[in-house]
């Protein structure tokens, strides 16, 4: 056991076991509803908006997010909220109002299938294969992170943790499919919030509230060479890249994070969009991201604020708070949340906190597996291996079987990916960086496809590929300062050095998006549109009748919710300007 290790008692294990009984019980209860592929892979399009909405953000609230954002809270302070208030929120509102009507209304069962309907087979194939590989990889990396955490913190066996957590996720996704994943994500959402709340309250109590925190931060931040309130403000010091720890100016944040990265992630990632596509009606599908956005805006107070408190504790004499060091003076901020659990929680709530972390790992993993099996079954197997036949009943049974097998296959390959990550960590980091680059060009292509009927299939395909290659090229030609390995960039040569890795990511995304958009527009004008207006109805904005919300009360309308979400986000931004 390492210095971050701590011992759990009977009450902690009891809480954990009660939770897992419910997780598997939900899968078990849903088993009898899994009669065909539609029920298993699409949840029968039956989810109420609030369930889909909470699942929507819970999928994203995976452990890498919880651990990463708490660490970022310590590293960048409230600037981390840019991932929420300028990043996720506008993108979620845009997805809800402008994109969901096409994703949901087109009857496509996945994002790749939308690409097939809107463009052509090759665009779908490219996206489906990249997505399938990326999802399994992400699932494996998150499993690896879980097992290493369990080993370091609880002293559990690495292999046992890996296999056990995979078995639980497999158990409930195999039994209940997407419905089970979604219902469990809702459960996970509540356990994550309730499990982490004690840390927020206790750390703020300990440091004398928000004002006490600000006061004690000032000398620490000044010593780093920034203005005293840099860690507790969001936009104030973004006039220049050198006055804030992110190393990016306001326009880099607005364009890179606020526009390209966030819209790319939230509007095109099937893992996320799938939750909204499972909603019971077109209105519920539009409301899903909006209902998710409401709690999403307050997540920073749950995970970023404790991270900021951790920075104070780290520099406070006699607090007893430490983080493992990577090298002398350089802390491993990934362990911030664990160290905080250890610092403040006695037996009892400690079990709850650990359960919350485990829950966040599982929600990420189950999300990946349930998105993978859908894309595999519909976009790869059904398209290229065994197309639909005339016998619908036999087909239903067959694809349900394939969906189930894909679930098992997905979990097994994830485990293999987790071992690869433990053996070749750098390569996996690199692959993950590479695959994260496919979102920005994908957003350019889908955006143009939805709002410009002239966009052609050849153009979309080329745009997607070229955006991806430009992202690779940019990554190969630039380096974040202090990068020790080629994994971080500069593997061709070093033309430009960014102050931090975050800045490099932002600009990679901006370049990829711009290239992809320019090439798609140019080639669309140069090639012939093969699809008639009739074929594009329901897929393109200008050719689709507007969705009218007249027979529902005003407070349930998407527009009302959207205004509410944007108003609260604006108020939060001003409060922490």
């Amino acid at each position: 056991m390492t210095d971050t290790g701590f011992v759990l008692s009977l009450i902690d294990y009891t809480i954990m076991i009660v939770y897992f009984v419910f997780v598997l019980g939900i899968g078990w209860a849903l088993k009898r509803y899994m009669k065909d592929a539609n029920a298993f892979l699409e949840a029968g399009r039956s989810m109420p908006a609030w369930v889909a909405g909470l699942a929507f953000i819970s999928t994203n609230l995976g452990a890498l997010e919880v651990m990463g954002m708490t660490g970022s809270g310590a590293k960048y302070g409230m600037l981390t909220t840019h991932f929420y208030w300028i990043g996720a929120i506008p993108a979620m509102v845009f997805l809800a109002l402008f994109m969901m009507p096409f994703y949901y209304g087109s009857k496509a069962r996945s994002v790749p299938e939308y690409l097939k309907l809107r463009f052509d087979e090759k665009t779908r194939g490219l996206n489906a294969i990249l997505f399938a590989v990326m999802t399994i990889l992400a699932s494996g990396i998150s499993m690896y992170a879980l097992a290493i955490l369990m080993e370091k913190v609880l002293g559990w066996n690495f292999h046992l943790s890996l296999v056990l957590s995979a078995a639980i996720v497999l158990g409930y996704t195999y039994l209940g499919g997407l419905s089970s994943a979604i219902y469990n994500e809702v459960l996970q959402f509540f356990i994550i919030v309730i499990g982490l709340l004690p840390i927020v309250i206790l750390s703020l109590q300990d440091l004398g509230g928000w004002s006490g925190l600000k006061e004690q931060l000032a000398p620490i931040v000044t010593a780093k060479g920034f203005a005293a309130d840099t860690w507790t403000t969001t936009w104030k010091y973004t006039g220049s890249a050198t006055t804030n720890p992110l190393g990016v100016e306001w326009y880099g944040i607005a364009a890179g994070l606020g526009f390209v990265l966030s819209f790319g992630y939230w509007c095109t990632n099937f893992l996320i969009v799938q939750r909204a596509m499972s909603a019971e009606s077109p209105t519920a599908a539009r409301n899903t991201p909006l209902i998710g956005a409401l709690p999403k805006m307050f997540i920073p107070f749950l995970i970023i604020v404790p991270g900021i408190a951790a920075l104070v504790l780290l520099n406070k004499q006699g607090s007893g708070f430490t983080l493992p060091e990577i090298s002398p003076g350089h802390y491993n901020y990934d362990y911030t949340i664990i160290a905080l659990l250890k610092q403040y929680l006695p037996a009892g709530v400690l079990g709850l906190g650990i359960t919350a972390l485990l829950a966040s790992f599982m929600s990420g993993m189950a999300g990946n597996v349930s998105a993978f099996n859908t894309v595999w079954t519909y976009d790869i197997y059904q398209s290229y291996i065994r197309p639909v036949t005339a016998d619908k009943a036999a087909d239903d049974k067959h694809y349900l079987f394939v969906g189930r097998m894909a679930t098992i296959f997905g979990v097994i390959v994830s485990i293999a990916a987790a071992y690869l990550a433990s053996l070749f960590g750098n390569i996996m980091d690199f692959l993950q960086t590479i695959f994260s680059m496919i979102n920005a060009p994908l957003f350019a292509v889908i955006f143009l496809g939805m709002f410009w009927k002239r966009t052609t299939g050849h153009a979309a395909f080329t745009g997607l590929l070229s955006g991806f290659f430009i992202a690779l090229l940019h990554h190969g030609l630039t380096v974040p300062e202090g990068a020790a390995t080629l994994v971080k960039g500069g593997w061709i040569c070093n033309l430009h050095t960014y102050p931090v890795e975050m800045a490099q990511n932002f600009w990679t995304a901006i370049f990829a998006f711009t290239t992809s958009a320019v090439i798609t527009v140019g080639l669309s004008l140069a090639t012939r549109q093969k699809k008639s207006d009739e074929e594009l109805r329901g897929l393109v904005y200008s050719l689709t009748p507007r969705h009218v919300e007249t027979n529902i009360p005003w407070y349930q309308r998407s527009s009302t919710l959207a205004i509410l979400v944007l108003t609260i986000a604006t108020i939060l931004t001003i409060l922490f300007w």
Partner: protein
């Protein structure tokens, strides 16, 4: 599909809340245990909060079940 998720959520938090509340009451006098949490009996507080949340969820589940069956 099939089940009302409010019911398992309500039931689970009622059970967990009850467990933590009881544990909080039993360990109430244990100063060493609560030194970490600044002397606050965080188990009791969390337990009560979860119990309340669980019962509200169960009540809502019961209401939707009644609306559905009548």
């Amino acid at each position: 599909m099939g089940i009302d998720i409010k019911f398992p959520i309500g039931l689970m938090f009622t059970i967990l809340g009850f467990l933590l509340t009881v544990f909080g009451v039993i360990t109430g006098g244990d100063e060493a245990l609560y030194r970490r949490s600044l002397g606050i009996n965080i188990n009791l507080w969390s337990g009560c909060g979860m119990l309340a949340f669980g019962l509200i969820m169960l009540f809502l589940a019961w209401k939707s079940w009644k609306a559905k069956t009548s």
